[in-house]
């Protein structure tokens, strides 16, 4: 079987177990270990999944940008596949942020949604991700699409600082984390670790399936040419 670049089979056999354990520990900490937040109560526990999801969504975006630049620079197929896998995963985590946010906002703010800078920013990022994924769907799959997607990935990242400035200037009630009890900080840390594991594992799975797809295509062409 063709190996996925970035790491070895050892990582692939080890990572699912690590993810499993990290996720179980994270869940246990969120529900059993960490104390209730004084003002918000139980509902605040969603924060330990909300914030790591947001970080993973941003991580995805930066991987897309880096891989896109690398692809335009060197034209390596693996960079293009990495960008595709990271964009799909980034969109999944971005969706998680947009789902867990309102679940918390409804009891605390009294509304599902508000046009706060961070919410707006996440929504716009989700839309850019969606455009990127749809571009790949609509444009089929060949060498040229990879270039289009890479250009869009880079333009998207260039847009982020401008988006950030303009949305920041535009409105402002998202809570800022000021001080955390040590239990809370630990829980957040473990949750982030678990999310990094999930992200990496899923990324590698998706990358492998994309590489396999390439391989199957090459084989099929080979068979057609031979017969």
């Amino acid at each position: 079987m063709k190996k996925v670049p970035l790491g070895s089979h050892l990582v692939d056999s080890f990572l699912p177990w690590l993810t499993c354990v990290a996720m179980l520990v994270a869940l246990a900490m969120v529900f059993l270990y960490v104390p209730n937040e004084r003002v918000q109560g139980e509902v605040q526990r969603i924060f330990y999944f909300h914030l790591p999801s947001a970080w993973m969504a941003f991580l995805g975006f930066f991987i897309v940008a880096g891989a896109s630049a690398a692809f335009l620079w060197q034209g390596k197929r693996s960079a293009d596949l990495l960008a595709q896998a990271a964009a799909e995963l980034g969109m999944v985590f971005c969706s998680l942020v947009l789902l867990t946010g309102p679940l918390w906002a409804r009891p605390i703010w009294g509304v599902w949604w508000t046009w706060d800078p961070r919410l707006t920013m996440t929504l716009v990022l989700w839309l850019i991700y969606a455009a990127y994924v749809l571009l790949r769907v609509f444009a089929g799959d060949n060498e040229t699409v990879a270039r289009y997607a890479a250009v869009l990935g880079i333009v998207g990242v260039i847009d982020i600082p401008l988006l950030y400035i303009s949305i920041r200037l535009w409105r402002g009630i998202h809570p800022k984390v000021e001080q955390m009890a040590p239990e809370m900080a630990w829980t957040l840390l473990v949750c982030t670790g678990a999310f990094v594991c999930v992200f990496t594992w899923l990324l590698r799975l998706r990358l492998r399936s994309l590489h396999l797809r390439d391989e199957i295509r090459a084989l099929r062409q080979h068979v057609v040419a031979a017969s």
């Binding site: 455009a131 040229t144 270039r147 250009v151 333009v155 988006l163 949305i167």
Partner: protein, 217 residues
Amino acid sequence: MWAILWKDILLELRTKERVSALFVLALLIILVFVFALTPEQLKQPAFGSALLWVALVFAGMLSIQRALILEQERNCFAGLLLCPIDPGQVFFAKFLSNVFFLTVVEAVVAPLTLALLGLSFSVSLLGLPLVLLLGIIGFSALGTLCAAIAVRTRAREIILPLMLLPLLVPLFIAAVHVTGALLVGEVWTGTWFRVLVAFDVIFVVTGWLTFGFVVQE
């Protein structure tokens, strides 16, 4: 580069179809809003500025798409790329022709919109054209790049707005704010104006540098 730009303008002078279609479309969009809103809402300068930009963005999107579909349909892009010039120059030609057409359309639509809404524009005779032009420049730069991608896919009509609109958010917010400030006679050369200029500079350069990756065969 000037030859391509002149070719686009000449084509339009002979047919006059793009500018006239855009003009009617922009008016129709404004009409839809006039029906959707109450007369009291329409009198507010904030709505006037939002309306101007909504009409510009939607009409502009079609204009930009048209410019590149024309090239794509008869495979003229291949011809353009065979020319011994840098793809960046093809980008500038397409970008400038879009700026030109949208400016022509907007020169009629903007005063007309303000007049239809009963807003005074005497306070902003210098500022308004400048802001509109800056908005058109940013929009055309990003739009030309995205449209060059979109016309080469299936479902090109759908994919262009999907790509372009979220990326345009900073431009749109900034332009609406500057225009709003202009219409009520406030200071308009503040932070929003700078965001608008920054957007223009950044995306003209980005378009120029990355266009080659999009159009190469």
